[in-house]
């Protein structure tokens, strides 16, 4: 039980992106993920259609971008993965326990990495299935039956080879990329896959626009329902969408910003990243709803009568059904599942880099050692838990808790501790403005210190109550206890244990730059 660092030789120089563009591409690759394609279109449609644009943009500007800047400022000023950065932010008095918040975020990223990989493995399988439309006439029973072989809720060790093999491939690829380091691995993968994703998805959208019924789909998505704006749940849905879409508040953007050189613009590239993420969401909305319009047209029903408009159902049941009915369907399927795979893969890299970076710093590992060890352990757990006949239910449950409780709690804790308890708002704002060309005003401190925690706390508490009262997806309580609440318990225990372990190299031997002088006090009122 010692958090006392053992002083060692000076820290080796830090890895870095090759430049501004490399960082921006990697950060966009992280933000643009599965949620952009399968979550945004359905959420926008169900929450006011065209009118959703208003709460969505308000959420982007009042919460998404400010929290993104907060992550950037913490990672860049304190130059480390989440545990190092929070420890340094806390300083001599609070650093030791604040490090725990960093490990809390690392543990969330670790858990998400375990199942996010699985969805990418499914997408990879379906990419291959697209060539011969292997799902046949009934994609729903193909997905849960023939492909996933879903059994009763429980813990089975009956492996499904069709999932295990692509899952192993994804893990090998991701470990290889992480082992190559930030510039030669993560950045290079993003430089290749992000443009490829945009091109593939743009081709898909253009094709979708020329399908019969596409206009009806777009009518359904964009026709505003003004009454929705009076519903608080619509506003919460907008804040949730922005929040989960931007990869904020669980260490990713802290880690990525820490690989920028010290004299690097933060806020102006941050705006590019945030708007690029939303731009891709709008593009996905157009593509998905044009396609759904075609599906409704084929079945002779209205778009409002369709089911399975978000998430796993949209991607692995609804879309395959549509692809089967479409002239040139296999090409469409290849583009869609290829896009899903690439969008997911670049996000997965960022999730696992959070864990890898934290282990590198705490235990003095090289990127290669950390990638192999962290990736190896994750791969084994991921395969054991999620490539079996009970994988789908485990994934759905762990995802629900890790996201809606884990990440939201992490965001509430970060904003409250950093702004209110440690009162670092002014210093972080000073840091952003000292290196960036887009200046942030005092309103930024209000947004991250007051508005964001209020909205996020409401989201957190209402979700906790709903999960306790209503359970989730009709699963038995013991199962939710084990895989839902158990996930949160695991994250908390991991945070405590890793905080207590010894540092290989003294993380506190560090001076923040630029110096935040007391003279800035006179600027405070």
């Amino acid at each position: 039980m010692s958090a006392t660092p053992a002083p060692q030789a000076a820290a080796p120089p830090r890895e870095q992106w090759t430049g501004q563009v490399g960082f921006i591409l990697a950060a966009i690759g992280s933000a643009v993920g599965l949620g952009n394609i399968w979550r945004f279109p359905g959420v926008a449609y169900e929450n006011g259609g065209g009118a959703f644009l208003i709460p969505y943009l308000v959420a982007l500007i009042t919460a998404g971008i400010p929290i993104l800047f907060l992550d950037y400022a913490i990672g860049h000023r304190f130059r480390g993965s989440a545990p190092s950065a929070f420890r340094r932010l806390g300083g001599p008095r609070s650093g030791r326990w604040l490090e725990g918040l960093g490990w809390f975020q690392v543990a969330i990223a670790f858990v998400i990495g375990l199942y996010y990989t699985v969805v990418i493995a499914w997408a990879l399988s379906y990419f291959v299935f697209s060539f011969d439309l292997r799902w046949g006439e009934d994609p729903a029973s193909f997905f849960t039956g023939e492909y996933l072989q879903v059994g009763d809720p429980g813990l089975s060790l009956e492996f499904v080879p069709g999932v295990l093999i692509p899952l192993a491939i994804v893990w090998i690829l991701v470990i290889a990329v992480l082992a190559a380091g930030v510039a030669k691995g993560v950045q290079r993968a993003n430089v290749i896959f992000l443009p490829l994703l945009v091109v593939a998805f743009a081709v898909l959208v253009v094709r979708a626009l020329f399908l019969d019924g596409a206009a009806e789909g777009l009518n359904a998505l964009f026709t505003p329902n003004w009454e929705a704006l009076g519903d608080p749940n619509v506003w919460i849905a907008a804040y949730s969408q922005i929040f989960f879409s931007l990869s904020i508040a669980f260490g990713i953007m802290i880690t990525y910003a820490s690989y920028r050189k010290r004299k690097a613009n933060l806020t102006a590239p941050g705006l590019v990243v945030a708007f690029a993420n939303s731009s891709f969401e709008i593009l996905a909305g157009i593509g998905v709803f044009a396609t759904l319009g075609f599906f409704a047209f084929q079945q002779g029903v209205a778009v409002s009568e369709l089911e399975g408009l978000t998430g796993v159902g949209l991607s692995f049941i609804t879309f395959p059904a549509i692809v089967s009915q479409m002239p040139g369907g296999p090409i469409f399927g290849v583009l869609f599942f290829g896009s899903l795979t690439m969008a997911g893969f670049t996000s997965l890299l960022s999730v696992l880099q959070v864990v890898s970076a934290a282990f590198q710093e705490k235990f003095g590992l090289s990127p290669r050692q950390a990638a192999v060890r962290v990736g190896g352990v994750s791969a084994i757990l991921s395969i054991l838990i999620f490539s079996t006949t009970t994988g789908l239910l485990a994934l759905d449950t762990a995802d629900q808790w890790a996201n809606n409780i884990g990440i939201v709690a992490s965001a509430v804790l970060s904003t409250v501790l950093v702004i209110w308890v440690l009162r670092k708002g002014s210093e972080l704002r000073f840091h952003l403005n000292a290196v960036s060309t887009f200046r942030v005003g005092k309103v930024w401190i209000f947004l991250v210190g007051v508005l964001a925690p209020v909205v996020l706390t409401y989201m957190l508490i209402s979700r906790i109550i709903a999960l306790i009262v209503d359970g989730y997806a009709d699963l038995p309580p013991w199962y939710l206890g084990l895989l839902g609440w158990g996930t949160i318990a695991f994250i908390i225990v991991a945070a405590v244990v890793f905080t207590m372990l010894r540092w290989k190299r003294d993380p506190d031997d560090f001076t923040a730059w630029p110096e935040y002088a007391v003279l800035t006090k006179e600027g405070r009122s």
């Binding site: 380091g181 009518n219 102006a268 110096e515």
Partner: protein, 55 residues
């Protein structure tokens, strides 16, 4: 498509894609600060990590 749906489609593109274009143009016109505070010499490298043994 109906007029109102087209309007909102264009509005979404204008605001969100417009925001992207505006932020790219802003970044291009001001990629970096002209002057930084003193110090801050880099602690960085672009090449591979030196090998570190963790035994």
């Amino acid at each position: 498509m109906t007029g109102i749906a087209i309007t909102f489609l264009l509005l979404a593109l204008l605001l969100v894609w417009g925001g992207l274009i505006a932020s790219i143009l802003f970044l291009r016109s001001r990629p970096e600060l002209a002057a930084y505070p003193a110090g801050g010499d880099d602690d960085h490298r672009e090449d591979d990590a030196p090998s570190i043994r963790d035994t």
